[in-house]
Amino acid sequence: MTESVIHLENIHKIYDTGAVRVHALRGVSLDIGKGEFVAIMGSSGSGKSTLMNTLGCLDRPTSGKYLLDGMDVSTLGKDERADIRNRKLGFVFQGYNLLRRTTAIENVELPLIYAGVNAAERTRRSRLALAVVGLASREDNAPNELSGGQQQRVAIARALVNGPSLLLADEPTGNLDSRTSVEIMSVFQQLNEEAGLTIVLVTHEPDIAQYAKRMIVVKDGLITRDDLIRDRRNAAADLAKLKPVVDEVLEQTI
């Protein structure tokens, strides 16, 4: 694949804590092209988090080669990796990871501050990113004034604001109820289809993985399955179907 966003070649990661040596990745090779939507699945301890951290340039592989957008990032230092994360990557976490007591727009601005963008441009781009995830009206709300789904949307806006080549989502629906999960997945699908954004999603829920286009299963530090998803689900359609159910539930609780 020439248009690879991610190109992994025989990636090993060994955690050496002195007493114990953990071989978390045992030679992973992987290519992810532009515009793909990949779900990475695996049980805990399978190495999927290590793979995610490696893809996210949060960690450096012990050996192997990682090309991101054609650039070798496997040997970069701490600050260079910070710059790569700042310019090329967007992160969405399970626990949202927003700054407390900081408004939505200030949270979204954060990557732009470290990129050295001026204040007016920061505000403009942050507003735009919040509008994309449907939160234009909640700019000045702090995370504790927002629902879980809204907080995750702010996190997605923050991941989008620097125009990344790759969006990495680590269990983005882990803390959300099923309806909100589908909502978030519809945001991802929309970004992937309309804006052509490359997305890598880590999840352990097969339902959620069904919204992606390709599924990778990691086990014992190796990729054991790599398939295209056949009966792919459409989050927008699911949401329409879910609506009455949720209303019923609401009525019942009331």
Partner: protein
């Protein structure tokens, strides 16, 4: 990029107002006590200096050597007839000397009406007043023309006025000095005892020419009062006096001089070094409290770094370099130090003014101590903030994000 990072730092401080205020309190107390202690110490130093300079500003006393009598018996200092009026004039030309006055002393009995009183008459020049730091309370001092004409005029001390019962109308009255009639032209302002227990008001001052020609028939000067140009120049003045007199008296270098020079700098030095040690001691104690304030900053910053580990992780994940994280925390501690320093300076100035007012103690708020403590409090902010800031910057983003 430093501007938004500064904004982040300030909003982090504003979020924890009570904590920030308490942290600053340590620096505030430290800086305030440094300024108060140093200004009070320097006030004490000024007071001591005032007392010493009241003995005579920059005074040097040159006395003639002792007379060697028959059989080698040496009389006391000032008895040798070695210093002449020409010597005195030459001393007045020395570069570090601002004024000279001969001092010709005679024990005299004064008579006024039916009262008499034995005291010390001193023949001096009009410059004496400035050299010995004396003042006139009534009348005037005698003039250079009185000196030229060897006029029989006298300036009397308060004790003499009292003993002779001259009353408040002393100026203009006639008194007899060794049976010669003198007109009183002025009265010295009372000064009380000298630090050596001598009554400085029990004296009568007359022109030195009068003393030499009419009272003593002497041609030599036993004592010369010399005023150095400024306190720092006394040592130079002393050397110049030595050179001039040695040369004029045709003595070889190394040969024993036929005069000696005394000054009050030793006394002043001792007193000054005492108060300086006091100031240093007080400042040192206050400095310790400033140090403790700095440790307070470090403590709070360490807590803050631990507490905000997750925040640091988020910042790193979205692309903050180590330096940006470090700077944010450094700016926070610098701001704490600086704000504490400014408040402490204001408080310290206020307290030292208040203390000096209540205790009637001179206080000298030295700009130096203000500048030093301002710079020092910032330095403390940076110094004690550096370790926590480094700790924050060295966090591993993965670990930091996982921190609960």
């Amino acid at each position: 990029m430093i501007l938004p990072v500064m904004k982040m730092a300030f909003s982090a401080l504003a979020r924890n107002k009570v904590r920030s205020a308490l942290t600053m309190l340590g620096i505030i107390i430290g800086v305030a006590s440094v300024i108060t202690m140093v200004s009070l110490g320097q006030g004490a130093q000024i007071q001591v200096q005032d007392q010493i300079s009241s003995m005579g500003t920059n005074l040097l006393i040159v006395s003639a050597g002792s007379q060697r009598g028959a059989g080698g018996v040496r009389a006391g200092g000032g008895t040798a007839s070695t210093i002449t009026l020409e010597d005195v004039a030459a001393l007045g030309q020395a570069p570090s000397v601002s004024a000279v006055s001969p001092g010709v002393t005679a024990s005299v009995t004064l008579v006024a009406g039916n009262q008499n009183w034995t005291t010390r008459a001193e023949g001096v020049a009009p410059t004496y007043l400035a050299i010995r730091n004396r003042a006139i309370s009534a009348g005037t001092f005698f003039t250079d023309s009185d000196v030229r004409s060897a006029a029989r005029v006298a300036v009397v001390g308060q004790t003499v006025v009292n003993q002779l019962m001259l009353g408040s109308e002393a100026v203009g009255q006639m008194i007899r000095v060794r049976n010669l009639p003198f007109r009183i032209v002025g009265v010295l302002t009372a000064k009380g005892q000298s630090s050596f227990g001598q009554d400085q008001d029990d004296t009568v001052l007359i022109p030195y020419t009068t003393a030499m020609k009419k009272l003593l028939s002497a041609t030599y000067v036993p004592t010369v009062y010399v005023s150095a140009a400024d306190p720092a120049a006394t040592t130079q003045a002393e050397a110049q006096i030595n050179d001039i007199l040695q040369q004029r008296h045709r003595k070889q270098a190394g040969q024993d001089p036929d005069f000696n020079v005394r000054n009050l700098t030793d006394v002043a030095d001792a007193a000054e070094s005492t108060t300086r040690v006091m100031t240093l001691l007080l400042g040192g104690i206050a400095g310790v409290s400033l140090l403790v304030g700095g440790i307070g900053i470090m403590n709070i910053m360490l807590v803050s770094v631990t507490e905000r580990t997750r925040e640091i992780g988020i910042r790193m994940a979205v692309g903050a370099r180590s330096n940006a994280v470090q700077n944010q925390f450094l700016i926070e501690s610098l701001a704490l130090g600086l704000a504490g320093g400014v408040i402490g300076i204001l408080l310290g100035c206020g307290v030292s003014l208040l203390v000096s007012k209540i205790a009637a103690w001179p206080s000298a708020i030295s700009p130096m101590s203000v500048i030093v403590s301002a710079v020092f409090s910032m330095a403390i902010g940076v110094f004690f903030g550096y370790y926590p800031a480094r700790k924050a910057a060295n966090l591993d983003p993965i670990e930091a994000l996982r921190f609960e």
